[in-house]
Symmetry: C2
Subunit: 369 residues, 2 copies
């Protein structure tokens, strides 16, 4: 089936993907937390159906447009895990009318503007900054939290859901132990907040994100819901953090070879920044990698070690380092496969999937815009 590939193509191994989904579903069930997978990684209705078959009914998206994309495919309970964008109020109104929509903010003014402009109910989380310092209310800033909760409670259309956090700094960890440490540090203030408000406002929840934590923790005491996204595919970044193996990685980019440079043991492939994105890893030797080669094997691929890597990307070119020499079977017109550094970005760039082994294609929201 690889013979029909002409340009850089995102391959998706269906059995690996379903295995990752089922594992996370089982992990959440064992721990007694709700799994609300973040669909920003795959952004595909076809892959959404695999989640539905595994019993998932609640999802998260990273934009209102993506929420509409999935609501139009029958999803009825959606959290847009991104601060409310007031410029899309019309879309918020229509989504709130058609599904159980949950939003998040950290701003009292946004709460009152939302309430004034809604005419259907919506859930609202307060975003808490647990140390990533991207966005969220400082968990010690009780004055702001109190004011926001009061504004939600006063509102006509909004229901307070609780606190939502994303410990994005687990991406800097380099071992499961380090991830567990960040998990403990970042969930403690959330649990304290929940205890503070639980008596007066029963039902307050904690929604907690990030694939590294959700991949290594077996218990989520005090947490109500987990929102991992990347685990559906994993990637080299997660492997470097230590929360998946190379064999858990679900997507690979097939790239045509267009030139050989045997003098420097390098090959040029058709596959660049517009296909992979520009996220890179540094390995133990400080060498940059934009992707690791895997080899076609029995309608999927096999891992052959980290030696062959994409060392540089320009717009459409990839430079492949093959320190052991260029194998005989690699020539202009042949294909090389690469696991991506950051699967969310690579899927966004390529905008569709070729599912193996059956060769059908799956959609991506990016191509539906």
């Amino acid at each position: 089936m690889y013979s029909s590939i002409k340009t850089p193509t995102l391959l998706l191994d269906q059995s690996r993907c379903i295995r990752n989904i089922e594992r996370m579903v089982a992990r959440a069930q064992r721990a007694g937390v709700t799994l609300r997978p973040h669909f920003k990684t795959h952004q595909s209705r076809v892959i959404g159906h695999w989640f539905r078959q595994a019993g998932v009914q609640q999802i998260a998206t990273s934009s209102l447009g993506m929420a509409r994309y999935f609501a139009d495919d029958g999803w009825q309970d959606i959290t847009v895990a991104f601060p409310v964008n007031l410029r899309e109020i019309e879309l918020i109104r229509s989504l709130a009318a058609k599904c159980r929509l949950h939003l998040l903010t950290l701003d009292e003014d946004v709460i009152s503007q939302l309430d004034r402009q809604l005419d259907s109910p919506a859930g609202l989380y307060l975003k808490i900054d647990v140390g990533t310092h991207r966005t969220g209310i400082d968990p010690n800033d009780l004055e702001t939290i109190d004011r926001c909760i009061e504004a939600i409670v006063r509102s006509t259309h909004l229901t307070w859901r609780g606190f939502l956090a994303h410990a994005g700094h687990t991406y800097d960890a380099r071992s499961p132990a380090a991830v567990r440490e960040i998990y403990a540090e970042t969930t403690a203030p959330l649990i304290a907040l929940k205890e503070r408000y639980a008596a007066a406002l029963p039902g307050v929840q904690i929604s907690y994100g990030d694939t590294p934590s959700c991949s290594v923790m077996d218990r989520f005491d005090g947490i109500d819901e987990i929102r991992p996204g990347n685990f559906v595919f994993y990637d080299l970044m997660q492997e470097q953090i230590g929360v998946c193996t190379h064999d858990d990685i679900v997507v690979a980019v097939a790239c045509p070879v267009v030139a050989l440079h045997p003098q420097r043991n390098e090959v040029i492939v058709y596959g660049g920044g517009i296909h992979f994105g520009k996220d890179a890893l540094l390995d133990d030797q400080g060498q940059r990698s934009y992707g690791m080669a895997v080899w076609p094997h029995q309608s999927s691929w096999r891992i052959a070690g980290q030696e062959v890597r994409l060392k540089a990307l320009s717009q459409e070119h990839g430079v492949v380092s093959m320190p052991g020499g260029i194998p005989q079977e690699v020539s202009p017109g042949s294909l090389l496969f690469f696991l991506p550094v950051h699967s969310c970005m690579t899927a966004q760039c390529l905008g569709r999937y070729t599912i193996i082994p059956d060769g059908t294609t799956a959609d991506h929201f990016a191509a539906a815009l």
Copy 2:
């Protein structure tokens, strides 16, 4: 007209763009070289028409698919400035039948395979590596060059066009003087090659690329054709190299503000890696920048200094550093505009343009796939 913007939107200032086009056309005319603009930066038929109105008839693209996109819009003379991808031989055959198509390679086997499978004439360049070490034949490897030329001359359908080079390492320069030095170093071996073959094969040409060189050189002695691409928009990277001013930059991304962090003088915008790409610059203080803020002004924008910058990007979030404090008029729901670090990648990510001042939209090949 900005009031209708709801999500991250790529604005294109038409007068700045036409000014950049006309300047490069005039520069090429004064120097007596052919301008074959590289359309990989804008990838837009609408912007292509502006080039046509300025008298341009020959273009370059970075893929065969992009060549078809422009051939279908009436372009008749197209160089695909990327090594031949043999897996797309059917598309090569159909393009060669409908326009004057020029390809490039560095491989004798590719030449013979191409010739066997073509049934219309096509031009062929040899790609020379002038020091970037991405791809191309070493200019001192006369044996390979001789063999390739012999194979082209022997062929039935291929016509040898000459040598093509891209001095991509001008992107590491930090002054026009440094760019001029690289230009001199990289063109000398090309001119020597041309002289070597000109007697036996008259008409041999040199096609030379890269925006930095083409923006600062006034004479291109010995060069036949220039292939700059980025100059149509320029960006912060070109400004840092010193070959354009901030005022020459044609595109800006309008991003909705979604959260304020006054304690740390930061603002969160809806606008992340999937909108800007992930190329970054380091400023003189070693601070990372993914974009520089400009301010709405008279249906375009004005430059206000480099202080306000995008300091971090995740998938959909941008973190804006405002060291002077957050201005009163910035609140959730307002817009901030940013000049991009690398306009080619940002245009690819956003996939369409909103032209100012008239508010019409222009196409991008990425959205046509």
